[in-house]
C-alpha cells in the first residue's frame, strides 16, 4: 500500500485540479461590473443632490428664512415659497382624509371579507391597472370631474379639486400597500379570535389591525410622500402656474381652501424651472432643496417606522 501512494492516483489528480489556485477572472469581472452599476446609481443621486445644493446655496445664504416666508413674485430676488408650502400641506390633508380611509377600507374588504368571486378578481385587477395609469391622465380626470362637473361642490380651480385629484391618484397605491400589510398578518390570529367567539369585525378591529398597523402606516406615509412630489395632475386640476397675490392676512383657512387660487411646491419648482432668465436657476434649485428636505424627512420617518417594526417582529 505504501509504495503505491507514491504514484499520483486519479483521485489525487482530480483533487489537484479542483483546488488549483487559478484566479477566477470572470468572477471578479462580474462582481466588479455589478458593483459598478450600484455605484453609478449612487453617483447619480449624489451628483443630483450636490448640484442642487451648489446651485441653490446662494439663496439660502443671502435670504435665509425670507425665501420660505415670501409669497410668489415675478422678481426672482423676492419670490418665495409660502403659498406653495401652504398649498402642498392642504393637498396632503385631503390625501390623508380621503385616500387613507378609502384605501384601507377597500383593502380590508378585499383581504378579510371578499370571497374569490369574479367581482373580487375584477376589483383587484382594476386596482393594479389603476396604479399603472400615468399621473397626467388623473389630471384629466380631475379637470373633467372635479374642476368642471362637480364645480358646485369644489368651486372650480380650488385646493378641493387639487386635493381630491391627488387623493384619487394615490388611492390604488394606498390599497395595494394596505392589502400587503393585511396579508402578512398570520391566519392563526384570526382563527384564535373566531375560536373564542368574536365576530369578523371584532377580529379585524382587535387582532388583525393592531398587528398590521405599523406596515399600513409606513406604506401610507410613503404614499403621501409620493403625492407630495406629484405635479403633472395638478397642472390640469387647477393649480395656478403664474404668480398670484396672497389673500390678505387674517383670511380663514376655509376661505383659502374653498375660494383662493392655489399652487403647490412642485408646481412652483416647475414654473421657475421653465423661466428663461438666469436668476431663476438659483431659486429653482433652492426650491428643490426645500422639496427634497421635506420628502427625505417624511421618507426617513417611514423607513424608521418600518425598521423598528421589523426588528420587533424578528
Amino acid at each position: 500500500m505504501a509504495t503505491r501512494s507514491k504514484m499520483p492516483t486519479t483521485s489525487d489528480l482530480v483533487k489537484a485540479s479542483i483546488s488549483g489556485k487559478k484566479t477566477d477572472f470572470v468572477g471578479i469581472a462580474v462582481a466588479f461590473i455589478l458593483l459598478l452599476t450600484v455605484f453609478v446609481s449612487l453617483g447619480i443621486l449624489i451628483t443630483l443632490l450636490a448640484d442642487m445644493l451648489i446651485k441653490g446655496w446662494s439663496v439660502f445664504a443671502d435670504r435665509g428664512w425670507d425665501f420660505i416666508s415670501s409669497p410668489l413674485s415675478p422678481d426672482p430676488e423676492k419670490a418665495g415659497l409660502s403659498q406653495a408650502i401652504f398649498g402642498s400641506l392642504i393637498l396632503m390633508v385631503f390625501v390623508v382624509i380621503v385616500a387613507f380611509p378609502l384605501g384601507v377600507g377597500a383593502a380590508i374588504y378585499l383581504e378579510e371579507y371578499a370571497k374569490d368571486t369574479r367581482m373580487t378578481r375584477f376589483i383587484v385587477a382594476n386596482m393594479r391597472n389603476l396604479a399603472g395609469v400615468p399621473s397626467i391622465v388623473y389630471g384629466l380626470l380631475g379637470f373633467a370631474v372635479f374642476v368642471q362637473l362637480l364645480s358646485g361642490i369644489t368651486n372650480g380651480r380650488t385646493l378641493i379639486s387639487g386635493g381630491l385629484t391627488l387623493a384619487v391618484l394615490v388611492l390604488p397605491i394606498m390599497m395595494i400597500t394596505a392589502s400587503e400589510a393585511l396579508r402578512a398578518v398570520p391566519d392563526a390570529l384570526r382563527q384564535a379570535s373566531y375560536g373564542v367567539g368574536a365576530t369578523k369585525w371584532e377580529t379585524i378591529r382587535h387582532h388583525v389591525l393592531p398587528v398590521a398597523t405599523p406596515a399600513i402606516l409606513t406604506g401610507s406615509v410613503l404614499t403621501v410622500a409620493r403625492a407630495f412630489g406629484e405635479s403633472a395632475p395638478l397642472l390640469l386640476a387647477g393649480a395656478v402656474l403664474s404668480n398670484f397675490f396672497s389673500a390678505p392676512a387674517g383670511t380663514g383657512v376655509v376661505t383659502l381652501v374653498t375660494e383662493g387660487d392655489y399652487t403647490a411646491l412642485p408646481i412652483v419648482v416647475f414654473n421657475w424651472a421653465r423661466q428663461p432668465q438666469k436668476e431663476f436657476v438659483a431659486i429653482t434649485a433652492a426650491g428643490i432643496v426645500v422639496l427634497l428636505v421635506i420628502l427625505l424627512l417624511v421618507n426617513g420617518v417611514a423607513i424608521y417606522l418600518r425598521d423598528r417594526a421589523s426588528r420587533r417582529a424578528a
Partner: protein
C-alpha cells in the same frame, strides 16, 4: 323542567353592526371601479368630441401644432418612443445590475444601507429630475460630447426618465430573484459552479419572468412620465418630427403638459384643448396594454417552485 330551544343566532345588534361594517368596506372597494369608470368616461367623451371637431386629415400632418390645428400623431408618438427607448437604455443595465448585486452579492449589512438609498432615489419627484436634465445633464455632459445639442432635447429627457425608473426596475427584479429558492443555488454550487455562474446562469433565468415584467413596467412608466419631458425636452407650443434626439421635440405627455399649462387661455383652432383628452386616451390605452401584458407574461412564464 322545560327545555327551551337555545337561541344561538346571536345578539341582533351585534349582527346588524357586522352587516353595516361590511357594507362600508365593500363600498370602499367598489369605489375603485367608480374611479376607473370616471377616467374612461371623462376621456372618451371629449376624445370623440375632438375627432368630430377637427379635420381628420390633420392627424397625419406636418408636425404637432395644436394651436394651428395640426395634430400629427406620428410626431408625438415617435418622440415618446425615442425618449422611452433612451430611458430603457439607461435603466436596464443600471437597474438589473443593481438588482443582481443586491439579491446575490450584497452582504446583509450592505443591503441594509443600499436599499434605503435606492428608495430615496425612487422618491425623488420628476420635476427635480427634469430640472437636473435641463441644467446639468444637457450643459455639463451632453454639450461636451455632442456640441450640436440644443438647450432642450429629447436625449436629456430620456436620460432623466431613465434615472427615474432605475429604482422601479431594480426593486421589482430584485424581488423576482430573491423569490428563487435557495435550493437552486445550492444545487448549482454542488455542481461546482462559481458564484457568478450561479447568479447569471441559474438565478437570473429562473427569475426571468419577473425581470421582464420589471422592464415592461419601467417602459410603461417611461411612456407616461410627464414632468421630466415637459421641462427638459422643450418645444412648448409644438414641434416637427425630429429624428435627431439632440433636438427638442414634443412627446405625448409633453404635448399634454403644454396644453394643460395654457388650459385657461387656450386660443386656437377648434379642438386645440380637446386634443389633450384624445392624447390622454391614447396614453391610457398604451400603458394599460403594457401593464396587462406584463401581468400576463408573469402568469404565463413564471416557474412554480
Amino acid at each position: 323542567m322545560t327545555t327551551a330551544a337555545l337561541d344561538l343566532s346571536g345578539d341582533p345588534k351585534r349582527k346588524r353592526r357586522e352587516r353595516r361594517v361590511r357594507i362600508l368596506f365593500q363600498s370602499a372597494a367598489v369605489f375603485s371601479i367608480v374611479v376607473s369608470a370616471a377616467i374612461v368616461f371623462s376621456l372618451i367623451g371629449r376624445a370623440i368630441g375632438f375627432l368630430l371637431e377637427i379635420d381628420l386629415s390633420q392627424l397625419w400632418a406636418d408636425g404637432w401644432f395644436p394651436r394651428r390645428g395640426r395634430f400629427d400623431l406620428r410626431t408625438i408618438v415617435w418622440h415618446t418612443l425615442v425618449v422611452s427607448a433612451i430611458a430603457m437604455v439607461v435603466a436596464t443595465p443600471l437597474g438589473l445590475g443593481a438588482s443582481v448585486y443586491l439579491s446575490e452579492y450584497a452582504s446583509p449589512r450592505a443591503r441594509r444601507v443600499l436599499k434605503p438609498i435606492l428608495e430615496v432615489l425612487a422618491g425623488i419627484p420628476s420635476v427635480v429630475l427634469g430640472f437636473f436634465a435641463l441644467k446639468f445633464i444637457t450643459p455639463n455632459i451632453l454639450t461636451t460630447f455632442f456640441p450640436g445639442t440644443q438647450q432642450s432635447n429629447l436625449l436629456a429627457a430620456g436620460i432623466g426618465v431613465g434615472i427615474l425608473i432605475i429604482p422601479l426596475v431594480a426593486s421589482v427584479s430584485e424581488d423576482a430573484m430573491r423569490a428563487v429558492p435557495i435550493a437552486l443555488r445550492e444545487a448549482s454550487y454542488g455542481l461546482g459552479a462559481q458564484k457568478w455562474r450561479t447568479s447569471l446562469s441559474v438565478v437570473f433565468p429562473a427569475a426571468l419572468s419577473g425581470i421582464v415584467a420589471s422592464l415592461i413596467l419601467g417602459l410603461s412608466r417611461a411612456i407616461g412620465e410627464t414632468m421630466v419631458v415637459a421641462i427638459a425636452a422643450g418645444a412648448t407650443g409644438g414641434s416637427l418630427l425630429q429624428v435627431n434626439p439632440l433636438n427638442g421635440g414634443q412627446t405625448m405627455t409633453g404635448a399634454m403638459a403644454s396644453l394643460a399649462i395654457g388650459s385657461d387661455q387656450v386660443v386656437g383652432e377648434a379642438g386645440t384643448f380637446d386634443s389633450l383628452f384624445f392624447v390622454g386616451l391614447l396614453l391610457f390605452f398604451m400603458t394599460l396594454a403594457l401593464n396587462i401584458f406584463s401581468e400576463r407574461f408573469v402568469k404565463r412564464f413564471r416557474q412554480r417552485y
